[in-house]
């Protein structure tokens, strides 16, 4: 009997990571935005995006730093980081290949793309390849269903994806 639970596994612990400080430019950007919000805590999501841009993921050290900058408790930062799917709690691959597996994309071949990726890269979901080049993620509807099946590679959409396109991408991306 196969009853596969289809959730993304949540890591039990977030790596401590290197000592972390937001760049001066990021800290200045936080202070520029602060007057736009009634509380500093409201800047938590923007600040976490800045951390992820700087370091690629959100380590425990960076959570403590953000907590101090915004005057909120570290555990609150942790609860927010783990709630949202797009924050990485450990380093992702250099190229994070996100395949939409919602209905419109599944109707037009999303599972075939995922099968191909797993076969080619030899890893499961959410685990970077040994060389750190790629990671495969299943994601929900990306809001581009007219171009199904759809992927995002890092921040960029790839529309109307065929297995051939994907194979070519895997060769191109270093």
């Amino acid at each position: 009997m196969e009853s596969k639970v289809e959730f993304r596994p949540a890591p039990l612990r977030v790596p401590e990571g290197e000592p972390f400080r937001l760049s001066d430019a990021a800290l200045a950007e936080i202070e520029r935005l602060a007057p736009r919000y009634a509380t500093r805590a409201a800047l938590l999501l923007p600040a976490l995006w800045m951390v992820q841009r700087q370091q690629g993921y959100i380590s425990e050290a960076s959570m403590r730093h953000v907590a101090a900058v915004l005057g909120v408790s570290p555990v609150k930062v942790y609860s927010v980081v783990t709630f949202y799917h797009m924050y990485h709690e450990s380093p992702p691959g250099r190229w994070n290949i996100q395949v939409c597996h919602n209905l419109s994309c599944s109707l037009l071949g999303a599972e075939k793309l995922l099968d191909l990726l797993h076969a080619k890269l030899g890893v499961g979901e959410d685990e970077p390849t040994a060389d750190g080049r790629f990671m495969i993620q299943r994601v929900e509807c990306l809001g581009a269903c007219e171009h199904a099946p759809v992927c995002q590679i890092n921040d960029d959409f790839v529309f109307d994806v065929t297995p051939k396109d994907l194979e070519r991408k895997l060769d191109e991306l270093k």
Partner: protein, 426 residues
């Protein structure tokens, strides 16, 4: 031409720039509105009959009218979270006509006396975020935003705010919590956001498409807008068509057109003539499915779709051809809710994943006909018993699939798992 209001500039070169927008008469409606009183603007929007395009279809003017008179700041939040499966209209609006949204924001904020607007955009829309931010910068530089909007002394600030991948932040109180820097856990209502919203202050949350309708309404008058469409479904509507049609994509049509016309004339029909239409999910994945027979004589407006037992919702229309396994389809639909439940309410947190588990079991093997009773039982214990309607959004597809495609579930039990070699033709 009245039958395209929102997409009329999409084909224009550099339609996203301020120069192009102004050359087409842009920001004229904002200037007109700022010369009216807020009450007059509100009255026009009420007269237009405009209904929220985010899914619930609530009359926009009426919602704005709920803002109490007080000294507290009033906030406008633009819901650009666009995460309802099958929906992609707000992406086009922001990519191709960001200044139309900004002009709508100026007029709307004037009407509700708000000085601060946030555009809460889903995290995955990276390039759309950049387009919107650039348009905001242009609007600030040209004096359409800031401390003195268009020289009228009206102060209005507008800020982009990026989500981080959570469907539930599209629910308006989840959005507000997220904006406050928290997990996007919906709040118990009442109080409604118009009374107690962002930072404890009166707040209006409106969908992108709703707000982009406002400049036309001010320019041409609420009555002119109400003349488009049918009955209480006024105006035009953006439809997001995906799935097994020949030409998927975004369409702007006056409300009330027959589905058959849309399918045959605008979408080029089904992609494979050997596989006719089987079913349609008309309003994003959270609404009841309709069969081909129900759909082929259905008009596309709020009331007609409701009369068929479904909802217009977000107008994310997913078209499914004959030969697609409906158990597999429902398993994919419910996986989404299991994944996106925020976890506050037990019936939703447990129910969504339990329902999804059962459906994969029916599809892949190991289920018994008793599981159908269990599904019904779970639905009864989820529907209407939770803080927000995400649980209901999972129940509605389940109940409608069981009712309309029950024979396919039986065939799975007889076969032991999916009787088709491939649940879908690719």
């Amino acid at each position: 031409m009245a039958d395209v209001i929102l997409t009329s500039r999409f084909a224009t070169k550099d339609s996203h720039t301020l120069a192009s927008y102004v050359a087409d008469g842009g920001y004229g409606a904002a200037k007109k509105a700022l010369a009216m009183t807020p009450e007059q603007v509100l009255e026009e929007v009420k007269k237009s009959g405009l209904r929220g395009r985010g899914g619930a279809g609530f009359p926009t003017g009426m919602k704005w009218g709920f803002i109490p008179k007080s000294d507290k700041p009033v906030y406008l939040c633009i819901n650009a979270d666009e995460s309802e499966p099958g929906t992609f209209k707000d992406r086009y609006l922001m990519d191709l006509d960001p200044h139309l949204l900004i002009e709508g924001i100026i007029i709307s904020c004037w009407a509700i006396r708000s000085h601060d607007c946030y555009i809460y955009i889903r995290g995955e829309y990276h390039s759309t975020y950049d387009v919107m931010q650039k348009a905001l910068d242009e609007a600030y530089a040209a004096g359409y935003l800031g401390d003195d909007v268009a020289g009228t002394g009206f102060r209005l600030h507008c800020t982009m705010h990026k989500g981080a991948g959570a469907y539930i932040c599209g629910e308006e109180t989840g959005l507000i919590e997220s904006l406050e820097g928290k997990k996007g856990e919906p709040r118990i209502k009442p109080p409604f956001p118009a009374i107690v919203g962002l930072f404890g202050c009166p707040t209006i949350v409106n969908n992108v498409e709703t707000i982009t309708c406002v400049p036309w309404i001010i320019e041409h008058g609420g009555e002119a807008y109400a003349k488009i469409g049918v009955g209480k479904s006024t105006g035009t509507k953006l439809w997001c068509v995906s799935g097994h049609v020949k030409k998927p994509g975004l369409l702007e049509l006056p409300l009330g057109l027959p589905f058959k016309t849309m399918l045959e004339e605008h979408c080029g029909g089904m992609r494979d003539p050997k596989r006719p239409l089987k079913a349609v999910i008309p309003g994003g994945s959270s609404v009841p499915v309709l069969t081909a027979a129900e759909m082929m004589d259905c008009n596309l407006d709020y009331e007609s779709i409701a009369a068929k037992g479904s909802m217009l919702g977000s107008a994310g229309m997913i078209v499914i051809e004959e030969g697609t396994c409906m158990v597999w389809t429902l398993a994919i639909l419910t996986r989404f809710y299991a994944d996106e439940s925020c976890g506050q309410c037990t019936p939703c947190r447990e129910g969504t994943s339990w329902v999804n588990d059962i459906l994969w079991r029916i599809e892949r093997g190991g289920a018994t006909p008793k599981d159908i009773d269990l599904l019904h039982n779970l639905c009864d214990n989820m529907m209407g018993k939770t803080i927000c309607v995400l649980a209901d959004a999972c129940v509605m597809p389940v109940r409608s699939f069981l009712e309309k495609f029950g024979a396919e579930f039986q065939a799975h039990f007889e076969h032991g798992s999916c009787p088709q070699a491939e649940p879908v033709h690719i």
